[in-house]
């Protein structure tokens, strides 16, 4: 029963890891750089949402503001920082994201301080109580919401990438940039869009996790690591591998917590990355195809 309980508890957490990995993989596939600042870019925007919330008291408005600012931040990162060096060096782009990681953390400390701020749960009320044989499993409503949002966002983005003209163009651009150019796809615009969507997802993850972690400059550190791991586990080549990887990770984490010790949760994650890279570098769902196409 403990197994089932761990699985159920692991799903909301894993869904967030999955979304995080999905955003990182989306940017990686299209633009070709690992975004180390993914979590912190989201964190800054969660602070913006928090400021809007303290000023207006409206949760919906603050979430909307956070996500919109996240989208704009993504577009600005692409246009101002990535654009000039996009064709020159992937390593350069990687260094920029590392720089951003630190800049965002420092800026958040300067502007909002290092205190832990509280952000309200989006859904409060009677938790869902499930009977598992003799045990009772208590599932907070907010966790259910997290799962629902993560599933909904994944489905929306999946449909967008599969059927929308710009969504197909996004995949096309990732698979062959020259092919995309000759059919008249504005590849720079697609890149900006990808950055915008990617960072928005990170903001959403930040807002969903905020009631648990509180809002502070380091709130997304673990998310960044878990997001990467989700991507490595599922394979960066397939976007939905990241979501599956995230879910596996979330469940595994709870299982480790239940059977071994909560202290080992993070180390297990890092061990998984190493084993995965050694055994199957393309990830569980990755194909052996060339490069990042």
């Amino acid at each position: 029963m403990l197994v089932l309980q761990s699985i159920i508890l692991g799903i909301p957490q894993g869904a967030l890891y999955g979304l995080m990995g999905f955003g990182i993989a989306l940017i990686f596939r299209s633009v070709g750089t690992m975004n180390f600042a993914h979590g912190n870019a989201g964190m800054v925007c969660v602070f913006v949402a928090f400021s809007v919330f303290t000023a207006t008291g409206s949760i919906i408005l603050s979430i909307l503001c956070g996500i919109i600012v996240g989208f704009l931040l993504g577009v600005i990162i692409d246009k101002a920082l990535m654009g000039p060096i996009k064709h020159l060096s992937h390593a350069g782009m990687l260094m920029i994201t590392l720089g951003l990681l630190m800049i965002f953390e420092g800026a958040a400390q300067l502007i909002w301080g290092t205190d832990y701020q509280q952000f309200p749960e989006l859904l409060r009320g009677e938790p869902l109580i499930m009977r598992l044989g003799e045990n009772k499993l208590i599932m907070p409503l907010n966790d259910l919401l997290i799962t629902a949002v993560a599933v909904a966002v994944s489905i929306i983005i999946a449909l967008y990438l599969k059927y929308a003209k710009l969504g197909i163009a996004t995949r096309a651009r990732a698979q062959d940039p020259i092919g995309a150019k000759v059919v008249g796809i504005d590849t720079n615009m697609v890149d900006s869009l990808v950055w915008g969507i990617g960072i928005s997802i990170s903001v959403l993850v930040g807002i969903l996790i905020a009631p648990k972690t509180y809002i502070h400059p380091g709130m997304m550190g673990n998310m960044q690591i878990y997001g990467f791991t989700a991507g490595v586990l599922g394979g960066f080549e397939s976007l939905f591998g990241a979501i599956a990887g995230g879910l596996i990770l979330g469940i595994l984490e709870k299982l480790v917590g239940a059977y071994i010790s909560p202290d080992y949760q993070l180390s297990i994650v890092l061990i998984i990355i190493i084993i995965m890279l050694a055994v199957k570098p393309s990830g569980l769902f990755g194909k052996k195809s060339s490069g990042r196409v």
Partner: protein, 229 residues
Amino acid sequence: MLQVEDLKVNYGHIKAVKGISFYLKKGEIVSILGANGAGKTSTLFGLGGIVKREGSVFFKEENIPSSASVKSAKMGLILCPENRRVFPELLVEENLRMGSFARGEFKERLAFVYELFSKLKERRTQTAGSLSGGEQQMLAVGRSLMSDPELLMLDEPSLGLAPVIVDELFRVLVKLKDKMTILLVEQNALKALKISDRAYVLQNGNIVHSGTSAELLADESVKKAYLGM
């Protein structure tokens, strides 16, 4: 239709195209011939806005700036690049849909392309990466045709294809002649000259010969260097 003046393409210090001028009239098929590294692909990349270039390009009397791939695609100056450049993990039909990204009415063009290449219709729910080389080349040409080109620039369409398929492809090109103007870059010089009205010969980034196909076919030095006769 197309007027190119003093076109130059540089990659760093390497001068791939050293200031060439040429033109195309509406309804013509014009070939650019030359050995590997002569600057053929760079010329087309410069025209299609894939790489930076210098010099002036006028298409339908309108100036096309450098690196304006979106603008040229929208105006109907369409490049079918070397090595196919199809989207391997997209389905055949998704590839064709992308062909009509900038212009071209999707359904109408799709019917036209499927009629031209019936193989593509059979394989429309397969990924492009799973097609054979010949089918991928058909797809690349089909994708270019989706955008209803006014001037189609084809870069080495016969590269790596079996002779039967090359023949089929060239038959299609002749069929397209009354619908669009074609600028053809080809290693298979004899085949290209047979369907072309005129041709330019590139060597080390300069045009060294030009004339009607009949003139070039009769020219001893061209024959020796490019036709192996």
